[in-house]
């Protein structure tokens, strides 16, 4: 009997404690809880890894004023919506959505909870309390292209790309323009994987491009070091996006097109803490420290490096835009007239390839 009462007491106590838990959380409002959702595991390299570095930057900048809740590897769809609502229930006041496909669920959440501020990767829908962020990878692609144009002996660059979406088409164009600015004979071959994730196929694509005389490989948005390791093995140069992959190709990495969310994330968190957050579309380039060149190859000569660094400075200072006319497409039509610069809106929807790319766009 005694035992029973004790058991009931314990049970009752637990229930009370559980009921009070949300209350206590509500009172602890001086700590900003931030929820993060990544579409893939935050490994050593790749997209989610860079998002996670943004989170670490926030934690470093704000210390115990912020508290992180991280959920990795969430497919776009109902699972993501569930996690978002769970974050809201746990008292998150700021949420970072790490993938394009979280957009509509994120927007619903933003409307339902006006006090939760949301930042969303690579989407285009905005709300008062929901902003999005992207990087101007075409800037770094132009520079990487320049270095490829300088170093290629066969004048052939092979590219491994997932799907022909405007973002990818834009960086293929910028890379080609960069290569041709220093080497007018440079041509590009593209293999479209038509799959967001198939490392085996990406490796075979790289091998097929190398067999067809490409001596520089451009690995576009491959989250794994698949292409980079093949290039090292076969002894051809390689450029990769998002993360630095020097350790996977210590002798053959030409350069990495590093992205960084640190500054933007810290800025947005500050705005949330100050109560000044407003949903904006952030498209960060070299001037914003969102894009940078990492690990230039030692095989580039001092002269070549100087030319590259000069261009880096020009782009950072806003003095040079890779999409400055005259630019002609594959059929020879002038798409951007002499002296004109492509508007951001057009660049975000680009659906044609520049002259010098041999492969046609899948249509």
């Amino acid at each position: 009997m005694n035992f029973m009462t004790r058991k009931i007491k314990v049970l009752f106590g637990t229930i009370v404690a559980l009921a009070l838990l949300p209350l206590s959380q509500a009172f602890a409002a001086d700590v900003l809880k931030i929820g993060y959702i990544y579409p893939s595991p935050a490994g050593d390299v790749g997209w989610a890894h860079e998002l996670d570095r943004g989170r670490l930057a926030i934690e470093e900048a704000f210390g115990d004023k912020v508290e992180s809740m991280v959920v990795e590897n969430i497919p776009e769809g109902p699972d993501a919506a569930r996690i978002m609502n769970q974050f809201a229930a746990q008292g998150a006041k700021m949420i970072m959505l790490g993938s394009f496909g979280y957009m509509n669920d994120g927007l619903k959440l933003a409307k339902r909870y006006p006090d939760i501020k949301i930042i969303h990767a690579s989407g285009y829908k905005l709300a008062e309390n929901m902003g999005n962020f992207q990087t101007r990878n075409y800037e770094s692609a132009y520079l990487a292209g320049m270095s490829a144009g300088q170093i290629t002996k066969t004048n052939t660059v092979g590219m491994v790309a997932a799907y022909a979406i405007p973002e990818v088409v834009g960086i293929i164009n910028a890379f080609t323009l960069g290569a041709q600015s220093v080497n007018p004979d440079a041509t590009m071959k593209v293999v479209w994987l038509n799959s967001w994730f198939d490392p085996s196929k990406a490796q075979e694509s790289a091998r097929s491009l190398i067999a067809q005389k490409s001596d520089v490989i451009f690995s576009i948005y491959q989250d794994t070091p698949s292409v980079v390791t093949v290039a090292e093995e076969e002894g051809v140069y390689v450029v990769n996006t998002s993360s630095d992959m020097k350790k996977y190709a210590p002798t053959k990495l030409l350069v990495s097109m590093q992205i960084s969310w640190a500054d933007h994330f810290v800025e947005q968190t500050q705005a949330v803490l100050d109560g000044t957050f407003k949903g904006t579309a952030f498209w960060g380039g070299m001037a914003d420290n969102a894009v940078s060149m990492e690990s230039w190859s030692d095989d580039l000569s001092a002269e070549q490096l100087a030319a590259l660094e000069g261009k880096v400075a020009e782009i950072s200072a806003g003095k040079f835009h890779p999409f400055t006319g005259p630019i002609v497409n594959q059929d020879g039509d002038v798409m951007i007239k002499d002296g004109e610069t492509m508007a951001d809106g057009d660049l975000l929807a680009i659906n044609w390839l520049v002259k010098g790319v041999e492969t046609r766009l899948p249509k």
Binding site: D44, G46, T224, T229
Partner: protein, 307 residues
């Protein structure tokens, strides 16, 4: 041109090897009358286990062995559901397949995105240095040859040995096999275990040789190709192997053609390996009599001795 040909021919053998291992296992399972649809999950578990064990121990042999055991253990779950509890084989296979994909993520968690030194290709001196043929026939990794040997071995066992006869008898008419004293459940259990181990080895070949890295989702649908190959190859080992090589060849040819810049939509090109493999296998196997002869009559039907 020689580079491209070497890429295509040598690549085909390597690309087909994971499929061949898993398909030879699945063939034996289906010949015993059990339809195991969990190959994708079994391969993923083998791929992750093989990678982790080979990384930790530094031994590829240990990696392949561990992969075989891990996938075999997982296939016991399938065996328990279908043989023990007489669950629907399709549903149980799908469930175990999903379980396998999840298990692979769990096993590989700490190694996401890590790379490994691939197992070395054999070197037969001047033979391996011959143009095109050298790299294709005499310069592959050892598991490619083991894969080819397994096709020969499975063909022989199924068609020329008493063991093969028992397996086929159990798959044709478990009741008759039981009535003359063969332990139907035990035979099927062993077949499932063998199929699991082979799928594990196939998966490990992906991560230890073909794509020497681990990333979640690396198997990328190859397990389903295996299931299709067994059916479209009309349960004949040489035909299944032919299908696997064909699939490997066309999927490499696709990448090659894209690089050449032909104006063929790349989406169509990406679908080509599936379309061509299925069409060709369907054509060579169009004889209804042969299909009927090779199709295990009791495939997918649960069996109890108590009836």
């Amino acid at each position: 041109m020689i580079d491209s040909l070497t890429f295509l021919l040598a690549g085909t053998l390597a690309a087909a090897t994971p499929l061949i291992f898993a398909a030879m296992g699945e063939l034996v399972v289906e010949k015993s009358g059990v339809l195991n649809l969990s190959i994708e999950g079994l391969m993923a578990t083998g791929a992750a286990t093989g990678f982790v064990v080979a990384t930790v121990t530094g031994s590829a042999v240990a990696g392949f062995t561990a992969a075989a055991f891990a996938s075999m253990l997982l296939s016991f779950v399938f065996a328990a559901l279908t043989l023990g509890f007489l669950a629907n084989q399709v549903a149980a296979g799908l469930a175990v397949g999903i379980l396998g994909l999840g298990t692979s993520v769990l096993i590989g968690k700490q190694y996401e995105g890590a790379t490994i030194k691939p197992i070395a290709n054999i070197d037969l001196g001047f033979l391996s240095d011959l143009p095109i043929i050298g790299k294709t026939l005499f310069g592959q990794d050892p598991m490619v040859y083991v894969g080819i040997a397994s096709v020969v071995l499975i063909t022989w066992v199924l068609n020329r040995t008493k063991l093969g006869l028992i397996i086929r008898a159990v798959g044709e008419s478990p009741k008759a096999a039981n009535s003359i004293g063969y332990p139907v459940i035990l035979v099927r259990f062993c077949a499932i275990a063998f199929g699991g181990a082979m799928a594990g080895i196939g998966g490990a070949h992906l991560t230890l040789s073909y794509t020497p890295l681990w990333a979640e989702g690396l198997v990328a649908g190859r397990g389903w190709i295996v299931v299709a190959l067994v059916v479209f190859g009309t349960w004949k080992a040489p035909r299944i192997a032919l299908g696997a090589y064909l699939f490997g060849a066309v999927s490499l040819l696709e990448l090659f053609v894209q690089g050449q810049g032909f104006a063929i939509p790349s989406q169509l090109m990406s679908a080509m390996p599936y379309i061509i493999t299925i069409i060709i296998l369907a054509i060579i196997s169009r004889d209804a009599r042969i299909i009927k002869l090779n199709h295990p009559a009791s495939l997918g039907v649960p069996y109890t001795s108590g009836e």
